[in-house]
């Protein structure tokens, strides 16, 4: 039993150490890089009511109450997001990020190549994005974008990290139109792409 526990501890430690190693892209030689940007798991959302979630419901109504409260908050956030959905769906986030990474790398003399010829494969997965209330007590929202960056050297992962960028400006929701949201998200997506490229260039 002790041996099993020790083995589990060693395994957990080893996994943790491995995860830490992948958080920073090391100064490895990258001869030819291939890029793919995937938006199949991308979700537009507004996190407003959920930002102020507490354990009150759990105290009064237990785990089921907490679950119901959480679902109510999620529904309220979904209602807030509804007026922006058309603009969000029309936003070519994938293209903006891909172009930004590509152009920044190329400007630094690091052209991209096909996957078959590449020594390293960079996969960028677009995750949650949208508007986030910027504090528990506040009312203003700012844009956010979460990317999952995975670089492989052959079959091995050499970089596996989540990059979350937030916008510089914060506004109350009544001052955010679908047009201003689109403009702010385009800017944030371009900046995020540039940041990915710089992380590779200055590794």
């Amino acid at each position: 039993m002790f041996a099993t526990a020790a083995a589990v501890c060693v395994l957990v430690f080893a996994q943790r150490a491995g995860a830490d190693d992948l958080e920073t892209l090391q100064a490895i030689p990258i001869a030819a890089l291939s890029l793919s940007v995937d938006d199949s798991d991308s979700h537009f959302m507004i996190v407003y009511e959920r930002m102020g979630e507490t354990a009150t419901a759990a105290v009064f109504a237990g785990i089921i109450g907490a679950g119901i409260n959480s679902a109510i908050n999620a529904d309220q956030d979904a209602a807030l997001a509804r007026p922006y959905l058309a603009a969000a769906n029309a936003l070519p986030l994938r293209d903006i990020i891909e172009n930004s990474i590509r152009s920044t790398l190329e400007a630094r003399g690091m052209g991209l190549t096909d996957a078959a010829e590449a020594s390293h494969l960079l996969r960028v997965e677009i995750k949650d994005w949208g508007l986030l209330r910027n504090s528990f007590d506040g009312t203003q929202l700012t844009t956010f974008l979460k990317l999952h960056l995975i670089m492989k050297d052959g079959k091995e992962r050499v970089w596996d990290v989540y990059q979350k960028e937030v916008g510089k400006q914060a506004e109350n929701i009544e001052n955010i139109t679908p047009e201003t949201l689109s403009a702010a998200m385009e800017k944030l997506a371009a900046k995020s792409g540039k940041r990915v490229a710089y992380e590779i260039i200055y590794r």
Partner: protein
């Protein structure tokens, strides 16, 4: 009645960690400041006097709130060093990691850095089974050419980090805020506009030096 009093006192004592102020020791770790775009221009001397505190009044005495499960504020999260000093240290280490020198003494020629801290805040969102912590550091950063008095660069830099965990106390708060400071350092060192402003000042200085040298040469020839 005494029983109620002792129970209340006991509960208060047990929750002391939540009601007091926890001061964090924050800063940029040794290897967090790295060379990036700013390292691609010739080394410059930059003057940084101090960082002005322009945070909202309600956010100056603390950098975050300790809340109970109902969301009520029970205590404060503070810092051992003034956030303005921590940010000044981040700016200095970042510029130095990129090959530049930082001084606090103006010489009338070197670009002067003005920084204004507008936000230094730790917050968290309680989910159904997880807690997401957010570290947010924002500064207004500008460069002034002392010779002309002109502001040659001005932008807002933001250091941000979020982490979703099962929960966490001062160790987690410190890690999140330190990561936000590291992100701020990256934002500064990866600014193409800041790099151009430093480069243009350096080029203008070289041109001025060339003109001065040529003038001195022609004076000598004339004499």
């Amino acid at each position: 009645m005494f029983k109620t009093f002792w129970i209340a006192l006991g509960a208060l004592s047990l929750s002391a960690c939540a009601t007091g102020t926890t001061n964090l020791s924050l800063g940029l770790s040794e290897d967090a400041a790295k060379p990036a775009l700013l390292s691609e221009v010739s080394p410059e001397v930059l003057v940084l006097k101090d960082v002005k505190d322009s945070r909202k009044p309600e956010e100056t005495a603390r950098i975050g709130n300790k809340r109970n499960g109902y969301g009520m504020v029970m205590g404060a999260i503070g810092t051992k060093t003034a956030p303005t000093d921590t940010v000044a240290d981040v700016i200095t280490k970042t510029l130095e990691a990129n090959g530049h020198s930082v001084t606090s003494t103006p010489d009338g020629k070197s670009l002067e850095v003005s920084a204004e801290l507008t936000r230094f805040w730790l917050d968290y969102k309680t989910g159904f089974v997880t807690v997401e912590f957010f570290g947010d550091v924002q500064i207004n950063f500008s460069l002034t050419d002392p010779a002309s008095g002109e502001i040659v660069f001005s932008d807002q830099f933001k250091g941000y980090y979020s982490d979703k965990t099962g929960g966490g106390l001062s160790k987690t708060w410190t890690r999140v805020m330190d990561a936000a400071l590291a992100d701020l350092s990256k934002e500064i060192s990866m600014s193409a506009e800041l790099m151009e402003a430093i480069d243009e000042h350096e080029a203008a200085g070289e041109t001025a030096a060339d003109v001065t040298t040529q003038a001195a040469d022609s004076d000598e020839t004339g004499a």
